[in-house]
């Protein structure tokens, strides 16, 4: 017999929390987060959803995200000024501070900063979210297959990712974006360029998590029951490997929005007259000391967006861990 918990440690040596077994012990029961009746079947996902709805971090982050999404779809709901209309800008008022009707003041070209920030949300969020989704799906899927299959599949996939890792990502994205420039929509191009270079990170994390999960006995137990590869990968390995991928994914989201700014600055990303937060930050850099607001405002929006997604990721990760509920 061995002690399943390590005997020495900062936690509770020799302790485990127990819930009563009503058949044998009348010990007081530690109530879970909600009194579950045996009537309705529960699953990880329904329980996670039940749990999420009660988490303040989830509610706050979802409110922010919904506002941002509405802003990217219908920017005119938030501002009556159309920043694409040349007449809305006036060079004579460039870098003017906040005033009535122009809450954040005006940028280097005399355009309304608030309106531009609102209209910039669409491109930034589309790029950030779609790139994150693409990299997570591609990297995650390949990672789970390579981690589970091991052998030749793993070797080949891992060597390929190492090649991708060797390419400096901005340089690689620059190359892709520059090569195909003009042939495709510039936003789509940015998404593809960032995704092509972003997935290996997710792949590595997923693969490592799957390899850890794979060695656990419950996977052997599932095989002994006759479970197929699909069931083992998606019912057993995926839920137990998702946590670190979610964390990386949400952190990546911010990086992608920032990377878009770098590409725009280098002249291959979103181009004027299109607007994006990255582009706005790039444009405002030179005059930052005279007029900080044109840089600060889009940067703050970007930070809030990234923070909201990181909070969402944390909440989802915790909700998917029954031990933390």
């Amino acid at each position: 017999m061995s002690n399943p918990t390590p005997p020495v440690g900062p936690g509770l040596p020799e302790t485990q929390t127990m819930v009563s077994d009503t058949v044998t012990a009348p010990a007081p029961e530690r109530q879970g987060r909600h009194a579950k009746k045996s009537g309705k079947p529960a699953s990880l996902w329904t329980d996670a959803w039940y749990d999420l709805r009660r988490r303040p971090t989830f509610i706050i982050s979802m409110i922010i995200i919904v506002v941002l999404l509405v802003m990217s779809i219908w920017p005119s709901l938030f501002t009556s000024i159309d920043p694409f209309n040349a007449r809305s800008c006036d060079l004579a008022t460039a870098r003017q501070g906040p005033s009535a009707g122009h809450v954040f003041g005006r940028d280097n070209l005399g355009c309304d900063l608030y309106a531009r920030t609102v209209y910039g949300a669409r491109n930034s969020i589309v790029i950030g979210v779609l790139t994150t989704v693409l990299t997570t799906v591609i990297g995650g899927l390949l990672g789970i297959i390579a981690g589970y299959r091991s052998g030749i599949v793993d070797t080949v996939a891992s060597r390929i990712t190492e090649i991708f890792f060797a390419i400096p990502s901005i340089l690689g994205a620059l190359l892709i974006a520059a090569t195909f420039r003009g042939q495709y929509n510039s936003i789509l191009l940015v998404i593809i360029a960032l995704s092509v270079l972003g997935w290996p990170m997710v792949y590595r994390i997923m693969r490592a998590a799957v390899i850890t999960a794979k060695s656990q006995d419950f996977v052997v137990a599932a095989k002994a029951l006759g479970a197929g590869s699909g069931r083992i990968m998606f019912r057993h390995l995926l839920p137990n490997s998702l946590a670190s991928v979610i964390v990386v994914g949400t952190i990546n989201l911010g990086n992608f929005i920032a990377a878009e700014a770098a590409l725009s600055f280098l002249g291959v990303g979103v181009q004027s007259p299109d607007i994006s937060w990255g582009l706005m930050i790039a444009d405002a850099r030179n005059r930052f000391l005279e007029a900080p607001l044109p840089l600060v405002i889009p940067a703050v929006f970007l930070s809030i967006t990234v923070l909201a997604f990181i909070m969402l990721g944390d909440a989802v990760r915790d909700a998917l861990d029954p031990k933390l509920r």
Binding site: M18, K37, D217, F218, G226, R235, L320, K323
Partner: protein, 338 residues
């Protein structure tokens, strides 16, 4: 309980070698680990065969091969006359319904992100023909009751249970498909002493209720004696002795069995100074390179010339009533001596 009739499990000359490779791109086999090296036995309905041996003797590999989690290198594992070692695809899946396992570690053998209902119900999702969808939940609750857990706890997660309760969940999962054979690989060794007895009693009750046949693998010889009808003693991938529980424990014939039994501490200090103790020297040799002839000869006090040259077969030796693999087999009660 060990009655005649058709055995439910027939194992013949089972061999499992793991290749030892060198090189990454151009693999070259430089040898092999002979984890299981020629094991044969029968298992009858309602019978418990205990398998004891020290770590590295191949008992866990044997369990994996019986469960078709590893393919045998040679030999056969016949369940109901069909060889599970050769079965593929749908046939293998069907055969799995008849042989299930209970694992050692109740903390890693249950998926922490599945509810108890999903864990015990998974066999029905894999083998959809066993129970129609509408019945599954009821069946899971029945199983929970059978293993002594509260059926209302179906929506809980494994971490909400203690080690002993988790082991009950693992047993319920093993029972779901109503197998004839359950392979128990160290099912109580991770549990507290006061909980071990509960689980052992449960396993015995289930055996009587459902006529299960157990392969009971453990390193704890006392537990194996308690639960087994017959016992096989393994050393370096082979059975060195196989017989009824009383034959092995009261009249062991192989020196290794005698040493093993004499090393087991008896929970009674009375006469502890007089008790016979055979302390084996050193560690078992590597299964990659077992000794010639008798594998135990390097640690055996009876070893002679012949032991290095001729491998003793597992057969009934003169003066003993059961199978043993020693040229100098001689029964000697070490447990009750003194």
């Amino acid at each position: 309980m060990a009655n005649g009739g058709e055995p439910v499990l027939e194992v013949r000359d089972l061999v499992k070698h793991f290749p030892l490779n060198q090189g990454i791109v151009f693999k070259k086999q430089i040898g092999s680990i002979k984890a299981v090296d020629g094991v044969s036995f029968d298992l009858h309905r309602g019978e418990t065969l205990g398998i004891v041996g020290e770590s590295g003797c191949g008992k866990s590999t044997l369990a994996k091969v019986l469960m078709a989690l590893e393919r045998p290198t040679s030999g056969s594992v016949k369940i109901g006359g069909r060889d599970i070692g050769q079965a593929r695809g749908g046939e293998l899946k069907r055969m799995r319904r008849n042989i299930q396992m209970v694992m050692q570690d109740p903390y890693t053998s249950l998926n922490p992100r599945m509810t108890v209902g999903d864990i015990i119900g998974e066999p029905y999702e894999i083998h959809t023909e066993v129970a129609p969808k509408g019945d599954r939940r009821k069946k899971v609750q029945e199983l929970l009751e059978v293993v002594g857990l509260n059926p209302d706890h179906i929506n809980r997660y494994p971490h909400q249970f203690s080690g002993g309760q988790r082991q009950r969940i693992g047993i319920a999962r093993g029972l779901a498909l109503q197998p004839e054979i359950i392979v128990c690989d160290e099912p109580v060794s991770a549990l507290d002493v006061s909980i071990q007895a509960q689980v052992i009693n449960l396993l015995e009750r289930l055996q009587n209720e459902f006529g299960l046949a157990y392969i009971f693998i453990a390193h704890d010889l006392s537990v194996v004696r308690h639960i087994s009808d017959r016992v096989g003693v393994m050393y370096l991938g082979k059975f060195v002795e196989l017989g009824k529980d009383a034959e092995i424990y009261d009249r062991p014939a192989h020196p290794y069995t005698q040493a093993l039994l004499s090393a087991v501490p008896v929970p009674d200090p009375e006469g502890r100074e007089r008790r016979e103790r055979i302390i084996l020297q050193g560690d078992p040799p590597s299964p990659a390179n077992p000794p010639s002839g008798c594998r135990f000869r390097t640690r055996c006090w009876k070893a002679q010339e012949i032991c290095a040259q001729e491998e003793p077969l597992l057969q009934i030796r003169p003066g003993t009533g059961h199978l043993s693999a020693c040229h100098f087999a001689e029964t000697h009660d070490v447990v009750h001596a003194g």
